[in-house]
């Protein structure tokens, strides 16, 4: 890895900005995600920052089983996040639809539509688990960025 790539890799690990989407969640996971920003867990010390616009974000945090109404919004927000990006599915719903499986209004789980990098299981998951998931996603994102740039270089 060259010095510049090393610097970029480190910056991506140290500055993961997240964007949160509720894709039909029961609000349990949303409360736990917002708790991470509170004084008790304080994710800002890891450089994690909740962004208001998906265009500013690196990591998409999606809660809920993906309902018919929210599918378009999820796909739209995923497309708006610039590369390199990563997706974290928070809660058991994102992985399996959990108790909502089989409902006529639920079209999930999430990985039918977009690639998920990290699953944080739990109903709802503990804030510590969510922070760990976001941190792992930041490392996946940084490695992916280096790989893609190495691949892209001969074409330039």
């Amino acid at each position: 890895m060259s010095l510049l790539q090393d610097l970029l890799h480190k910056a991506r690990v140290k500055s993961p900005r997240i964007f949160h989407i509720n894709s039909g969640s029961c609000n349990g996971c949303d409360i736990e995600l917002i708790t991470c920003l509170s004084p008790r867990y304080d994710v800002e010390q890891l450089g994690i920052h909740l962004e208001a616009s998906p265009r500013h974000a690196d990591i998409l945090c999606i809660t809920g089983p993906v309902t018919r109404n929210t599918l378009e919004a999820v796909m739209n927000a995923y497309a708006q996040v610039c590369e390199p990006k990563a997706v974290v599915a928070i809660g058991s719903c994102g992985a399996t639809c959990n108790v909502f499986a089989g409902s006529p209004s639920v079209v999930g789980p999430l990985n039918k539509y977009i690639p998920v990098d990290v699953y944080v299981p739990g109903c709802p998951p503990h804030p510590d688990a969510i922070i760990d998931g976001i941190f792992q996603a930041a490392q996946i994102l940084a490695d992916r960025g280096v790989r893609e740039e190495a691949k892209g270089q001969p074409q330039k």
Partner: protein
Amino acid sequence: MNFAGLIRLFLFPGLLFAIPAGWFFVWAEHKVVARIQRRIGPPLLQPFWDFVKLLGKRTPARRGIDANLLRLYPVLSIGSLIAALALLPVFPANAGGFSGDCILLVGLMEVPSVCYILAGFTSGSIYGEIGAIREALLSVASNVVMLISLVTIAVTAKSFHLTDLAGPSLNPGHWVGVLGLLLCIPAKLRLNPFSTAGAEQEIYAGSLTEYAGAALGLWELAHALEWLLLTGLVATLVLPTTLAWWIYAPAFFVVSFVEVLLLSAVAAGTARLTLERSINFYWRWAAVLACMAIISSAVMMRFHL
């Protein structure tokens, strides 16, 4: 070639000093807010890592938006901010400058705000437009106070040459002017309680909603430089002009830093005011105060008091 001018532009308080100092001030703002909320807050190098990461993002072209125009605005802001920093009357004893540079400084200080408004309208996003309208209305209100405050200071010093304005004065008009400038800084930096133009979450990210990658990183850098310029302007107005350069430079930094702490504490301790209340504050209270100051200064000057 003006050697001192080049030093101001590139060394102090220009590029080499301004970028790290601006990032340090942005970090200090976040840290103070975090400490007041009993959090630990971001690490020291956070603004630097954010900037490097944003430079490394890949932003694909989008239809219906003039990407070059959007990229131009933050670059224009940074350019005018660096030029404005070079005009600041640091080391007034051997400063250059020219008669009327105060007016040029006001013009250069206004460029980032105008660019922010244009960026909102160019982005084609409804949230960008709302942010731009709010910024335009608020900057009209706060600029009146800022201009009157600067004119008050100029009237008491009987000059529009920044070197003559620098340093403390026995005239109370000077201090009312400094107070007026301090009142305008939160609106200029879009800080609480006058953060309605940025209004994070409420209107997404205001004018910058559609920005991404390197252009967004440049906007964040421009914001850091704006911190340094506005606090630095007040610092030059209160620091004694007779200090040696090796005392003046650290003192300039310390006074600016104290202002950052003060403004951040105010930002952490207040909630966002609505646009109407923010504008009312500036037109009703601050502008009246500034007008009284300029009238009394003019009367005192007329009778040589």
